[in-house]
Amino acid sequence: MQKKKQVHDLGIHQWILQFSPNYLQDLLRHLNLSGIAIIHEISTLKEINDVKRQLKKVNNWKHQMNENEPVRKGVFQNILIKERQSLKPAAVKKILMELRPLTEIITIECQTAALTKWAITDRRIDLLTFPPHHVKSLVDASTARLIKEHEKFVELPLSHFLSISPAHRISTLRQYMEALERLRKKDSRIIVTSRAQSPLGLRNPLQVRAFLKSLNFTDDEARKIVIDNPTELLRKNLEKLDPRYLLPGMKLITLEEIIDEMTRKVKTLDEEE
């Protein structure tokens, strides 16, 4: 039997925790989602402690797990760093240093070209997001190439299209379509999130795929954006959060694990013979 593909929505605000785990499971099943990431917004240095408290709260909620509530395994955390005038690069670095080991995903909202270039090269940042009215100017061909080279993901929040008037929607669509075309040409990776502020902002993968096809993506590309990219990002970052992780492709292993691996290999070789 073919294994069901896992689909994640990597950006939902904290209202989702008001559901009891069983109902959350029902809702996610109904929406064909296997996991979500809860957003914690941060825009000043003073908020670090608040965010840490929120992260702890969600972690406690996740760890009060019993076998009947597998949904908690699919809840991840996403810190969204929003650039404000008061937030200087040194402050962003401090936020990253403090919060990176505590969370699965770090997103940064790039308001300027300088911050975009810096964020692309920083290994602690996973997702880049852009304000809808600047996305066309910020994502040029060279930025798209850099995003591809540094294996970063670009976020496409659905809420940017839903919570605005039809007149604004046209200009936002135009801005995004040009930026997405550049990203597509360079084969950069895109992730669609809902950024839902309430249940009204939630959309299922079927809707996201149809929406992407309307933005001139092929069926394969849309499938990759909806299914493969979020799973890949999570896999990579969960590996990094492992205490034994050292560097990309390198982690500490015990002697017993090596022996186990060797015996397994010998067994398979014997079976083949």
Partner: protein, 156 residues
Amino acid sequence: MLTTARGKERQRYILVHYFLFHVENTNGKQDHPSTLITDKQLWKTISRTHSALHGDIKSALAGLYIMTHDPSCRLFILRTSLQALDDVITSLTMITKINGIPGVMWPFKISGTLKKCKKIMKKSYSQIIRINQQLKKVTKEIATNQASFLEESKER
């Protein structure tokens, strides 16, 4: 136009679940009459969004028609041509208001036959009722939180 061997246009049936944000209970059991949406209101909402997004000609070609509607469960089956299927789902994605009330539409099953679609609709009743109840509770909490936040900001 995609047609069958007999030259008939190929159709698809989409099972859609919708939800309204302002659901006020009059007696704690039934929904307020203004939140019970009719077939015509649903059709108008969908076709308006579809023509705003894709134009009048494409919406005419889509051949939208509501086959079955259960207002109490907030489920309906929408018929469309196979060619316009993706466009119709995009339109359903973009809907944020249903008959002027903030709401959302989630298409969750696509079928080639009405019979199969109705079968799935019957099967999913209990799950949908449970989800609707919980959604009502959560949206009420969100609305009260928003109201208190607005009051606080006004006071400031």
